[in-house]
Amino acid sequence: MSTQTPTQTEESNETDAEAEVPSKGDERREEKRRRAAEERSRRQAEEAEKAAADEETVELKVFRYDPEVEGKQEPRFDTFHVPFTKGMTVLDALMYSRDTYDSSLTFRHSCRQAVCGSDAMFVNGGQKLACKTQISELEQPIRVEPLPHAEVRKDLVVDLEHFYDQMEAVEPYFQTNEYPDGELEEQRQTRENREKVKMSTRCIWCSACMSSCNIAAGDNEYLGPAAINKAYRFAMDEREGEDIKQKRLEIIEQEHGVWRCQTQFSCTEVCPKDIPLTEHIQELKREAVKNNLKFW
């Protein structure tokens, strides 16, 4: 499995130092952990029994890891049995597991409707948004893991800092040299041009594409599909003007830019918003070539 857990750093020294003189709080917490673990295994055993008697139960195997909790420092999988209801999504099943069996089960989620981009995970070996993945379409047991190629913080939560850095490396904001003269006057944009950039503007920064990309896995500096798509969104927007487009093409043409893409289409396949990422990258390559020829 490509899921990487961070190596222990100097932070562990601090924990060691504390461990030498256990405080009352530590003892209480230790006791709490023990009882919580007992309670968990009791409830899960009950559910497993129920599951055996009842077909309408979903079995989830969920990746667990916490760098500071004993018993979770070594990654493991926990099994949860969740009563199936029509229309249930992977996110619903995770929330049920958390609220019913183990409140320490940790994952990002917010809008529940595929627009906040918080809950991309690795479900049965593919990058999915948990909130728009129907349980009924998956083989059981359902294996739920954090996104590959990102450092795991805890359970299903990964560190997204690198992803955000790449997104912000392409000057991801609108730029133009001239605005209309009139007060309260908008810039004109043709419907065709708006249509051209429409799909690229739907990105929700879930990072599923980055996680699926072999090139990004091997080259940490590769901008990645989402950031290149962001550059595409502006480079193709006719409101920015030619000289800005020129600058944008230079950014995406850099060593770790568009030319790294080997058109494997994995990003396009996993994108929950159906953005044709690979096509956008290809189109930018063509634009870059055209642009370079122009200056010969």
């Binding site: 500071e68 320490s104 906040c116």
Partner: protein, 609 residues
């Protein structure tokens, strides 16, 4: 300890706009949010942004529509500010590159929306909020504004003078979700709350899981009144199984509502003989539930929203996102079948009491966006008026907090102007259980020394976290679920006295149970159990104030319907409901609505569509 001139809490539309404005006015500004900005729920807004952009339209007409929609509970200075400044904010967004839907001539498109006398709703497909949120965040990145993301703000650092009007705010205390560190954020010039909605007080809601009303509850415990909390908008078209929103844009483009018998009930049963499906949201929600209650609902639960006749081309052009939502979250194909819909909690008209600059009664404390109540929306918000509110009032609060001179406010805060005590006797005790004193009380202020108040608040927050992590007790999830269920059962679209009292009793028990709450995950790393537990306290405070207001307001106005009181009673009730925490003993009082505008007075008329 972190230090900035202005601290903005929350990174949705209002927070981002406030931060940009404060920075442009010269302040060193930072945003603190429990989510990364692009995860904020502004991104889920679908329909659009109202702005009087065209010659045939005017801000005066927009203001008239908004005031009528508010059922005359909006305050004219706030309503007029919204309508006057919305056009420049829309053009500003366009100049920042927001991909609005366009007309053939390349100008920004506008469409009809409920309760509007002119098609003035600008939009970007049915994903206007997503485009607006990302456009604003792009500007924050461009300007290099500091963002502390995944920091949960626990409390405000406010001094504890007896009179809230004498108190001052000096920063916030936040918990770093990634590391478990508690830290103070000192604000030299001001704190702006922009924490959004509170939909998690209810069970069936279009709001995100993160919308727990944190800012409202925090301000309340620090001494700022909650205003008009009983006014909750139930959106008429949400998917029955999940509460996912189906935009009013569907009806704006011509979508039709049918009951089980195939009747176009908005007309055939006389709910809105002129505007039909495009009547104001409260009117349509009540109509749908009346159909269901009278046995004409489908599966006794919902009605149908049909857009098939609009044709595939128009649907794909203007409403494509709706097809995806209906397919992914309800399994319905909007191109070939009607979509099931029912009312769901959508928006809080009430919130933190502010004036038209976003100032609260506490010095240096501001609020903007859905968490605030200026009041722009009064008893009912019009579709397309929330997004311009974020921009207009985010900008105003940001500038004011950064020290820009903006003149005298017309709206008063606190008990500064006319006010009346409420004489309503609640049958159930309300407020803090067992009084304050322990860290578990988790609210109010701790010191009058402006320099020491932040440190004291950090210490108390740290003790609170330690207590929740180390002790044994009940899990919050059950308590939260009890609150959500009783609120959805009894404080919904239709409200009656006995059941409201019943809910107040349920909330009392939930408060009692919360006293024993504990977090079973002992970790300091990404402990969402701890965050949710703290949020549940906020949900409790809000649910209680909301139910108090719903009981006390013995009339039917806008979104607030009472079985025993079937009329709007202008003689007694052209006034705002306020609830003050008073260190644990909630006090209900009223202040008059301001209907005098810049050039005219808005005379309450009967509200028919």
């Amino acid at each position: 300890m972190h230090e900035h001139d202005v601290i903005v809490v929350g990174a949705g539309g209002a927070g981002l706009r406030a931060a940009i404005a404060a920075q442009e006015a010269g302040a060193d500004v930072a945003i603190v949010s429990k989510l990364h900005p692009v995860r904020s729920h502004t991104g889920a807004a679908e329909g659009g942004i109202n702005a009087a952009l065209r010659d045939a339209d005017s801000w005066e007409d927009h203001a008239y529509d908004t005031m009528k929609g508010s059922d005359y509970l909006g305050d004219a200075p706030a309503v007029e500010a919204l309508c006057q400044e919305s056009p420049e904010e829309v053009i500003q967004l366009e100049h920042w590159g927001m991909p609005f839907s366009r007309e053939e001539d390349g100008r920004v498109s506008q469409r009809p929306f409920g309760g509007l006398s002119f098609p003035r709703t600008t939009y970007a497909g049915a994903e206007t909020g997503h485009q607006m949120l990302h456009t604003m965040y792009e500007q924050v990145v461009k300007r290099g504004i500091t963002v502390y993301d995944e920091w949960h703000v626990m409390e405000l650092a406010v001094t504890d003078e007896d009179d809230p009007a004498d108190r001052t705010c000096h920063g916030v205390v936040a918990y770093d979700i990634q590391s478990g560190e508690v830290s103070g954020f000192r604000a030299e010039d001001g704190v702006i709350l922009a924490t959004g909605g509170m939909g998690q007080v209810f069970d069936h809601t279009t709001n995100a899981v993160a919308n727990t009303g944190d800012g409202v509850a925090m301000a309340y415990r620090a001494g700022v009144p909650m205003e008009d909390m009983e006014f909750i908008q139930f959106h008429p078209t949400t998917l029955p199984s999940t509460g996912v929103l189906i935009s009013e844009g569907v009806r704006g483009e011509g979508g039709i509502l049918y009951n089980e018998e195939g009747e176009r009930f908005m007309f055939e049963h006389g709910y809105a003989n002129n505007d039909g499906e495009l009547a104001s949201r409260d009117v349509v929600s009540r109509a749908e539930l009346t159909e269901v209650n009278e046995g004409r609902g489908i599966e006794d639960e919902y009605v149908h929203l049909d857009m098939r006749h609009l044709g595939e081309e128009r649907i794909l052009d203007r409403l494509e996102n709706i097809l995806h939502l209906a397919e992914d979250f309800e399994g319905a194909d909007g191109l070939t079948e009607p979509m099931p819909v029912k009312p769901g909690q959508h928006y809080a008209m009430g919130g933190i009491e502010t004036n038209e600059f976003g100032e609260t009664v506490i010095g240096g404390l501001y609020a903007a966006g859905e968490c605030a109540c200026a009041s722009v929306h009064g008893a009912n918000r019009l579709g397309g008026n929330a997004l311009p509110e974020l921009a207009v009032f985010g900008k105003r609060a940001g500038r004011h907090a950064a020290g820009e001179e903006m003149g005298e406010a017309e709206i008063t805060t606190g008990k500064e102007g006319d006010w009346d005590p409420a004489d309503y006797e609640f049958e159930v005790e309300v407020g803090e259980v067992g009084g304050r004193g322990s860290a578990a009380a988790d609210g109010g202020a701790v010191a009058t020394d402006p320099d020491g108040v932040l440190e004291a608040e950090v210490e108390r927050a740290e003790a609170r976290v330690e207590e929740l992590l180390s002790r044994e007790g009940r899990n919050h999830a059950e308590i939260r679920s009890t609150v959500q269920q009783t609120m959805t059962a009894n404080v919904n679209v239709f409200r009656e006295e006995g059941r409201l009292e019943e809910t107040l009793g349920d909330l009392r028990e939930a408060r009692q149970a919360y006293k024993d709450v504990a977090v079973s995950d002992p970790s300091r790393t990404f402990n969402t159990d701890l965050i949710h537990t703290m949020e549940t306290r906020n949900i409790l405070d809000i649910a209680e104030a909301l139910t108090m207001g719903a009981l006390a307001r013995e009339e039917f106005r806008g979104a607030h319907w009472r079985k025993e009181h079937q009329e709007r009673k202008d003689e007694n009730w052209l006034k705002h409901t306020l609830v003050s925490w008073n260190d644990g003993k909630p006090e209900l009082w009223y202040k008059p609505t301001i209907l005098e505008g810049e050039n005219k007075t808005y005379e309450p008329k009967s509200r028919s569509y």
